[in-house]
Amino acid sequence: MNASMPAQPAVSSAPSVSVDRLVKRFGKFVAVDEVSFETAPGEIFGFLGPNGSGKSTTIRMLCGLLRPSSGRATVAGIDVAAEPEAVRRHIGYMSQKFSLYQDLTVRENLRFFGGMYGVPARELAARIKWAVTMAGLDGRESTPACDLAGGWKQRLALGCAVLHRPPIVFLDEPTSGVDPMSRRHFWNIIHQMSDDGTTVFVTTHYMEEAEYCNRLALVARGRIVALGRPSELKHRFASGALLRVECAPLSEAAEAARSAPGVIESAIFGGGLHLTAVKDLSIEGLAQYLAALGIRVLAIERIGPTLEDVFVSLTRDRPNTAAQGH
């Protein structure tokens, strides 16, 4: 476990989500690697990381959709591996693709999920009205979901997922592919839900959205590389290091650098490596470490020790393949 334990949650009571050394393997691939954290009721907890870093896999395990390979997770105090059905009664889940029925209208989608979540008949109309207003879809109740623009679609999907007022909501990249205005609107809704006491677990790969969370876990390659309030993380990484390493052979070097002490992430960029590292990383130490592993190091230089760089390198899509574009 390479994440520090979270700071004291804002509201002190039993954690709404508690995860202890959770692991998910697909064959030899470790998608989620010993992840641990807790969330407090009413908290907005963010999972920030690039695609393929294990965010969705974690969320799916917490919703009882995937069985953890090892470790333990409880949601609303219920073990997700042992009683996934019981977990489902306490959560709302919005999957990465907007899982609406495109051929159903706004109202039909809401009504369907209302039925599925067992919203009492006498409340259903009021809840649908609430969701329609929340999504800004007043007057468009009879529009097929496929005819809605991204932002509306996304808020409708959220409405479907929270129609039954679950105490804990899991949102998997809810804002991907949505314009900035809609994203802001969406985060306002999330804050309202949080104010009402709902725990919101949200994943994103947009760095600027990190600010909206109460607490944040930075994830890369299945691990939590940092966890804390956004302000704390900023402080910690404000003078973090971004290094450029000229070395060969490249792919072995990328692997080796990843395991080096103080290195958070490594990626092939053009003819060299870009490393994200802690501020006080010793360049000589890194050179020696790599050399000991048989890597020929030609040069190491600091290139951009800003928070932006740290986040960008962390949240870049599949670091190894992104290099091809540069």
Binding site: R67, P84, K97, S99, Y101, L104, G115
Partner: protein, 377 residues
């Protein structure tokens, strides 16, 4: 099981079916097209076999023999040729299936009381047709030679001759020996197998492909609710298709429906349950629409076509194949259909078949429900 969730799923499926009107048109057309296709297109009756005649004698006697063929509805003399190569060409090109060659000394040898051979050439590439041609032509020739014998006996002064034996055939169930009456009831099984399995196989695979299944399984819905809710609309469609096929067969093609409608629809409900459950199961395993549709084709249409007794009689199959056919639910349904349409029998006579269908329905539905995991790995 919660009634509310079941209703929500069924309502959603119905909306989706109705809104997808192109598929709905195909669903509505299929029973009609299949019934018309099999009603008009597929006939096992062999009539008006095209035949060539090479009469090397051209006498009154030889013409009398040919009249026998002309009078038969089984043969149609399409050409009279005058040399042997023409006969060969006719058979080779497929213009005739059968050629009769009468020898040049036909009437002379008949008068002598000798046995005269007339040559028959038969295109036996279709062995079944060839067998039937041999049987029919043998019949025509026998009648002619009987006539010759009687004439001869009459000339000897023996009159009032009756043949010692005659078959008094009475055909039951399909009095007019129309293959249509035999085939069309089985078409219902075929249509149901396709509609039932195909559509359900697609409906669940589609949820996987579009990503809606992930949302669906994150709700508290149970597999049983999902299966029942999803299958209800298709059950309705299947029963409507049965009614359409049965209506078209009886009203248009005049296939008799001698049994009770309750027997027909009861059996259809059972068979429909079997194929719907099978479709659901395939869909759970396949997860992609393409794979699901292919598996559905192989798992239902083919056995329903080949191993149900629909067209190909099961009694004539080798024991091993016959054994396999016992695992084909369509076999039992086909037996019931032929029984209820042609024989007018009821549940009593068909109870084994009803039990078999019920057994299959229960078994496959259970497996389908149990194999559905609310997980996405």
């Amino acid at each position: 099981m919660r009634w509310k969730r079941l209703r929500a799923i069924a309502r959603k499926e119905i909306i989706q079916v109705v809104r997808d009107w192109r598929s709905l048109v195909i669903i509505a057309l299929m029973p009609i097209v299949m019934t018309l296709l099999y009603g008009y297109g597929v006939t096992l009756d062999i009539k008006h076999i095209p035949m060539y005649v090479f009469d090397r004698e051209g006498s009154q006697r030889s013409q009398a023999l040919l009249k026998g063929f002309q009078a038969s509805e089984y043969f149609r003399i399409v050409k009279v040729v005058h040399d042997y190569p023409d006969v060969v060409r006719g058979i080779n090109s497929g213009r005739c299936k059968f050629a009769l060659i009468i020898p040049h000394d036909f009437s002379k040898r008949l008068a002598e009381g000798a046995t005269v051979g007339v040559q028959a050439l038969i295109d036996a590439s279709d062995d079944n047709t060839a067998n039937i041609i041999i049987g029919y032509s043998d019949g025509v020739v026998s009648r002619f030679s009987e006539q010759v014998q009687i004439e001869w006996l009459e000339r000897q002064g023996i009159t009032n001759i009756d043949p010692p034996l005659s078959v008094d055939a009475r055909t039951w169930f399909n009095e007019d020996l129309e293959s249509r009456a035999f085939i069309l009831p089985g078409v219902i099984a075929l249509v149901m197998a396709v509609i039932g399995t195909f559509l359900t196989a697609l409906t669940i695979a589609r949820e996987w492909e579009r990503g809606t299944m992930e949302q669906l399984v994150s709700t508290p819905v149970t597999p049983l609710e999902l299966v029942l809710g999803k299958l209800i609309p298709y059950f309705g469609i299947g029963m409507a298709a049965t009614a359409m096929c049965a209506g078209l067969s009886t009203l248009w093609f005049e296939v008799p429906l001698r049994g009770h409608l309750t027997t027909l629809f009861g059996a259809s409900a059972l068979f429909l349950s079997v194929v719907l459950a099978l479709g659901f199961w395939i869909s759970v395993l396949a997860r992609s629409q393409l794979v699901a549709s292919q598996v559905a084709m192989v798992a239902t249409f083919m056995p329903a076509f080949l191993l149900s007794g629909f067209i190909f009689p099961l009694d004539q199959m080798p024991a091993q194949i016959r054994f396999v056919s016992y695992f084909v639910p369509a076999r039992y349904y086909d037996t019931i259909l032929k029984g209820v349409f042609l024989k007018g029998v009821g549940v009593g006579e068909l109870q084994f078949n009803f039990l078999a269908l019920a057994g299959f329905a229960f078994l496959i539905a259970s497996v389908a429900v149990l194999s559905f995991r609310k997980r996405i790995d």
